[in-house]
Symmetry: C2
Subunit: 171 residues, 2 copies
DNA sequence: GTTAGTGCAAAGACTTTGCACACCG
DNA sequence: CGGTGTGCAAAGTCTTTGCACTAAC
């Protein structure tokens, strides 16, 4: 069937490539715009693309500070905004009141949806052309032309259902 | 096909009924819990169910104050939370950083999705069993059991596409 | 009269902004 | 050196909370 997936936190050497290509892309963007490179931007970019997927700003900051404790919050926000403006990162909002970004690497070029575990927070991506086509069809029937989709399915993953709610009390 | 719809702001006398049945439901809930009725709660409930659909708290407050200017923000938040806790309202988050609630009337008993116009903000609801079934299927394939869905399709409605972006400059 | 409910303003959580200094080019 | 980028802290948003007061029951 026409679905593909990708797990968060799954260690992949592809991330090294992502970091490298993102750095190159950023360098190009900065040059085009006459913007400057900086130690902080490099750290943020490297860290962000090294983390791979759905990074919340506070988590990113924490990680960035591990590499360079003197980086400020504002810089992280500003850099991520910059990345987003130039299509290198995609802002995501999962409704928990925290800004998240997702790397806009090749595997994210297509619009995709999210499965989010309400137990452990694991996020799984999937893509279904069938679903997407149906949604466009319904929208068109209502006179809408879809520009952007936001599809999140919340539920419990296999592992969390396995322990049958034990970790609730443990947490 | 298996989709149903409902437009926002469309004046319907059904809303009078919604208000009445919501008031009754609230009265029952309050009595069960040994909670008190109050002038403010009545106003908020009446206003909320009278507005019909996807009400942002600030808009609700404004409207409520038209009926009773002395109602405070906190009361509106508290009342809506109460309604949500007892299943009379459903919290919605469209990612604009404002709390929204939707009446949990009979027509909202089913899970449904939203079409949101990026031009004029119009929200249209739709329901598609086909799409929902497919989503459940995909989720199950990943070991997930879906508890809650969030599907929002952003785009431009027919009217906004008609004026071809003129109102952008006007706004 | 108890005690829940209210209004106000203060406190929170997160993000953005203003400003002086730092540093890239 | 000129101007962009940074850090800090202040300001902004939106929502929640603490507290004295009001008002249900």
């Amino acid at each position: 069937m026409s679905t593909t997936t990708r797990q968060d936190r799954e260690p992949r050497s592809a991330e090294r490539d992502a970091v490298r290509s993102a750095e190159r892309a950023l360098a190009r963007v900065l040059e085009e715009k006459g913007l400057r490179r900086s130690r902080q931007r490099d750290v943020v970019v490297r860290t962000f693309f090294g983390m791979g997927g759905h990074v919340a700003v506070d988590a990113l900051l924490e990680q960035v500070r591990r590499a360079d404790p003197r980086v400020g919050v504002a810089t992280v926000y500003r850099t991520m905004k910059l990345l987003a403006e130039h299509g290198l990162a995609v802002p995501r909002d999962f409704g928990d009141g925290r800004a998240r970004y997702e790397p806009a690497t090749h595997r994210h070029a297509h619009s995709h949806d999210h499965l989010i575990c309400t137990g452990c927070g694991t996020i799984v991506e999937f893509e279904s052309h069938r679903i997407e086509a149906l949604q466009h069809r319904v929208a068109r029937r209502h006179g809408f032309e879809v520009e952007r989709r936001r599809v999140e399915l919340y539920g419990r993953c296999a592992r969390c259902r396995g322990v049958e709610g034990n970790e609730e009390t443990a947490a």
